[in-house]
């Protein structure tokens, strides 16, 4: 589903770049910088600065965790989808999110961190995931709204990542972006159906969902550029291509037009076209809320994490049994 300027979430103390030491390392560093400047891709086994590796592990794994945790708010509505068609669509979408999580975990593993370590970091609360999934899905209209706004914001964030300098990440993103467009379109179409053919109550339900998801969706692009200390380094390395604020503006500009087609109001009285900038101006974002949710105090943080840990623990016997079965089959084959 998507990342949010994850580079701002790293609070590891040993996260600052270390001074380059040996002459050998200096030469490697120089060659690496040249490759980055030339727009070349870096592959898993290539030399890379330790800080580049760590930044990627953090960003890719947090992206993966977001895909996995992102299944929970939508999974909430599978059994209550209004029609068989919508149920099949929602299941396909949630299955996609699991796949996206897997592509990304695999990309992070190429950097030398095991899947168990990655999953453990999520479950222990050490690793973050996108703050958007810590909001509850209260009505069926939330499903369409997540597709339209949350996946829409995700696509905007993810498309530039297809050109990320780290090739395994870029390849995973190409695959993900190809599948993501279905997510946004199904969401918009679901809302459009309710807005054009629905009852007044259904239309009000859509408007209510949009009211609740609008601001958290804008927060998905991460803090303002002035408060994104790691952004510059990520830009230099070609991990990040477009700034948080630029992406956010782009999202607002396209979404305002889409909201007119849908016939909903975006909950921002300060939203107006600026002729000089040729962009839509929008009101101030409540960053206190954002940091509160990132910090663990959103409406659903505890519930989401508890659900993940429970699923992992409850599945332990299946993982063990599968390994035991494989080992036994191997033994039988050797004995034969």
């Amino acid at each position: 589903m998507y990342t949010q300027a994850m580079d701002t979430m790293g609070k590891d103390r040993d996260d600052t770049p270390k001074a380059v030491r040996s002459a050998d390392e200096l030469a490697h560093q120089h060659a690496f910088d040249e490759r980055i400047d030339a727009g070349e891709f870096i592959e898993a086994k290539d030399w890379m600065p330790e800080h580049y590796r760590k930044t990627l592990v953090r960003q890719i794994s947090q992206h993966a965790h977001s895909e996995i945790v992102g299944m929970l708010p939508e999974g909430n509505w599978i059994t209550r989808a209004p029609t068989l068609k919508r149920k099949a669509i929602l299941m396909a979408k949630v299955q996609d999110e699991a796949g996206h999580g897997l592509y990304l975990y695999a990309a992070a593993e190429t950097l030398g961190t095991s899947r168990d370590q990655l999953v453990d970091a999520l479950h222990s609360g050490k690793a973050k995931y996108s703050s958007i999934f810590n909001y509850p899905t209260l009505t069926w209209a939330d499903m369409g709204t997540i597709g339209w706004l949350v996946d829409g914001a995700a696509i905007m964030n993810q498309v530039p990542l297809c050109r990320c300098s780290y090739a395994p990440y870029a390849r995973a993103m190409v695959r993900i972006c190809r599948e993501e467009s279905f997510h946004q379109r199904q969401g918009f179409e679901s809302l459009l159906t309710m807005m054009t053919k629905g009852t007044d109550a259904q239309k009000a339900m859509v408007q209510d969902a949009v009211n609740r998801w609008w601001w958290p969706s804008l927060m998905m692009f991460g803090p303002p550029d002035s408060e994104s200390p790691n952004s510059e380094q990520s830009m230099r390395w070609g991990i990040k291509r477009i700034s948080n604020d630029d992406l956010r503006q782009k999202f607002v500009d396209v979404t305002v037009e889409q909201s007119k087609i849908l016939g909903v109001t975006l909950p921002d009285p300060e939203l107006r076209w600026n002729d000089e900038r040729e962009h839509w101006d929008f009101g101030a974002i409540d960053w206190r809320e954002f940091w509160q949710v990132v910090g663990g105090d959103g409406p659903c943080n505890r519930e989401r994490l508890a659900a993940r840990v429970k699923a992992w623990d409850d599945g332990a016997w299946v993982r063990d049994a599968a390994l035991a079965h494989a080992a036994k089959q191997e033994q039988l084959k050797e004995a034969a």
Binding site: E43, K45, D46, W47, A92, Q95, D96, G99, L102, Y103, A106, E109, G112, T113, S114, R115, D116, Q117, D120, A172, R175, E179, R319, D320, A322, L323, H325, A326, Q329
Partner: protein, 97 residues
């Protein structure tokens, strides 16, 4: 790398997108055994009919060339332009040879 002993092994997945084409590497996944790897590969990598055949190979069974020796390995072919048909200028009338 601690605590990996209970992790399912890693497999590389190759998919043939349609008859007549090569299998192409498309990603990796963890599975307890080959049969499970094939099944998961189908679920993960061919959800939209991207394949007609799947291969899986244990990642630890793959031997790769050393990226550090990339230049000494592959650069020698750079100046062997005579290995390409375009190296040979022929009369116009023979252009399609």
């Amino acid at each position: 790398m601690s605590e990996t002993k209970n992790e399912w092994p890693l497999w590389e997945v190759f998919v043939r997108s349609k008859a007549g084409l090569d299998h192409k590497h498309c990603g990796s996944l963890h599975a307890a055994d080959a049969q499970m790897a094939i099944q998961l590969a189908r679920d993960v990598y061919t959800r939209r009919q991207e394949g007609t055949s799947v291969w899986v190979v244990r990642s630890d069974q793959i031997t790769a060339s050393d990226p550090g020796e990339k230049s000494s390995y592959f650069d020698p072919m750079e100046d062997k332009v005579y290995r390409h048909p375009t190296f040979y200028a022929l009369p116009k009338s023979l252009d399609h040879m």
